[in-house]
Symmetry: C2
Subunit: 379 residues, 2 copies
């Protein structure tokens, strides 16, 4: 690494054919920016669940071991045999990590658009953000308003646009209210703020009393606990009151997706007049956007025939709505960055600290309420 | 019942709050046809899987017992406690059964359209077809070409339109080939004839060698057996060759739906160039239109994020495409009734025989290759 930015440390994740994950730091030359590119000194990049997927892959992090030096630590962990199949596409490749981040432009290409960013604090999307320097195109940068720190702008894309993507999908697909699981997450809190502001009914499903309290504290109106004995009744009641027929689920595994559809069907049928053995004709939809529970999804199909389940990802959604609509969503994020879309981090770590076992043990658990921010240039 | 058609026998199914199914025959007055209505002497009505859902509901037909008289037999059977919840909407209601059928018009209303049907053989849709006489609207009748018997026209709607609905859904949703499960069924054979005629790639999934032979005999090109040790490889190979990314599944329960999506993803990735931990961006879809396996659906979600699963029913599909498009499909059925859309029945029974335990034991199994036709006026 060099103080002039000519080289910098970059975090790499590699899964070897032998069944071992290796996370390390490598010193890489910073590319010369092309005419329409800039070099950013990265000062803040969050560890999102979507980053963990690439960072640790299918590895069992309870087997993680540390080696290397203080400046260049190395982490290794075992990948269970059952997980290796899904890793086939990335075997033995040294992959950079980090979907989004923010920092200060320290060098620019020759175009006016690039030069205009010199010295500015920008938010960035595009991967490889767990690095001291990142060369990227001008249109992958979002200039932040004066007075915004890199830490405040580090999470401009993934969580805010995902949350806005949920309410936007709701409108486009003709639903009037939403259900969200793992609802006390950073993303879930953001979604609550959006729904409260926009007057959208939101049923929050959480897995503990503590998580319910987090949401009540920020004004959430419908919070149901899936560990409560009365869960199915509580959920049905909230669905009757909100009319929600669309859910976004971060859990994936187990019975929850089917339970949500079953309760939606029960809620709809409370006002049904005619018996149909095919159930109600109201379309009920669950999008699975995460996999906190890696067990199989189990559906008892006790929810009629008018239902759908599918994967949901931010990037295809943004491609579907097009550049102009996407720009509107991004502008709203910038406008409300310190309110609706403010993120809270429980730890700020350097690249080296990111590779410490005590930190890995916390962030790899994907626990609600724990949120890490990496500052690759932390002194 | 009366020879002049003023009254007639009608089959009724009732599930009592006490947890008992009762199937019986009742003598009901035949309604006077309104101006735009006709009375049809029903001579043929198939027992489709979709009829069995209403006929026996959640009852365990291995507990069926016969009582009543030879002319007015009664069948009773126990509904397991676990099945009663899904029956809540129909409790203690005496419900007529039979989605479709065919017969001869014996009386008409005053309108020209109604009078024009006098003496004609017509196919019918609209329920309550397991009856000697059925009064219905002119537009619920499809006049059959001269030389077509009621038995030949009895299955004009459910199977033919469902099979055409599958290829039509394929085109509308941008897929180029199809997968079908329980593929040796009457419906499956019909779908093969359509796909062969229209040049559509069709991957047939069956559950035995015997079923595979049925399909090979009618010219099916891709037949894979889900009970074979090489099933996943066989299916993947057929998916690579056809490019199928849409499946229609009649099974519902177990791992099959997830296996189909997994093999689709593997087939797509055989030509993928870049690793994405979210899997391919090609949308893969499975529609579940039946529930031959009543166990839960189990998805391991090893098929990326670009996927969907949903319920599929003929009626909402027809509503979605509109009356004009629906009429085109119906016309094709009439044009190809004795070729593409010919149905084969293994038994023709009277209403009384429909309520005999030996017949129930056969048709309630929903076994591929067994197909019943009821002739309510069988002498």
């Amino acid at each position: 690494m060099s103080a002039d930015g000519k080289t910098g440390l970059q975090l790499r994740s590699r899964i070897k054919s032998s069944g071992e994950l290796e996370i390390s730091l490598v010193d890489v030359p910073t590319p010369e920016p092309g005419p329409d590119e800039v070099v950013v000194r990265v000062e803040a990049s969050p560890i999102n669940p979507s980053d963990l997927g690439l960072l640790v892959g299918a590895a069992d992090m309870t087997t993680a071991r540390a080696s290397g030096t203080k400046d260049l630590p190395v982490i290794t962990a075992k990948v269970p045999e059952a997980g290796m199949k899904a890793m086939a596409g990335r075997l033995d490749e040294s992959m950079p990590v980090g979907n989004e981040g923010a920092g200060v432009v320290i060098k620019t290409g020759s175009s006016d658009a690039a030069k205009a960013l010199m010295g500015k604090t920008v938010a960035m999307i595009g991967g490889a953000m767990y690095a001291q320097y990142r060369c990227l195109k001008v249109n992958e940068c979002l200039p932040l308003p004066a007075g915004t720190s890199p830490a405040e702008g580090a999470s401009c894309f993934v969580n805010p646009l995902t949350a806005l993507g949920m309410t936007e999908t709701m409108r486009r697909e003709g639903h009037k209210a939403l259900v969200h699981t793992a609802a006390a997450s950073n993303l879930g809190q953001m979604l609550n703020k959006i729904c409260l502001k926009d007057g959208i009914g939101l049923v929050n499903i959480v897995r503990s009393k503590e998580q319910a309290e987090i949401l009540h504290a920020i004004g959430a109106r419908y919070v149901v606990d899936s560990t409560a004995a009365t869960f199915m009744d509580d959920l049905t009641k909230a669905l009757v009151e909100t009319g929600a027929t669309l859910a976004f689920d971060a859990i994936g595994g187990g019975k929850l997706v089917g339970q949500i559809l079953t309760c939606m069907e029960t809620a709809i049928n409370k006002t049904a007049k005619v018996y149909s053995r095919y159930g109600s004709s109201v379309q009920k939809q669950v999008y699975i956007y995460g996999g906190l529970d890696t067990r199989p999804t189990e559906l008892n199909r006790a929810f009629g025939m008018a239902w759908g389940i599918g994967g949901w990802l931010l990037t295809p959604f943004l491609m579907k709505i097009g550049a102009a609509e996407g720009a509107k969503l991004r502008q709203r994020v910038v406008d409300e960055l310190k309110t609706t879309f403010a993120s809270h981090y429980t730890q700020v770590v350097s690249l080296q600290e990111t590779l410490q076992l005590n930190h890995i043990a916390v962030y790899a658990r994907r626990a609600t309420g724990e949120k890490y921010l990496i500052n690759p240039n932390k002194g």
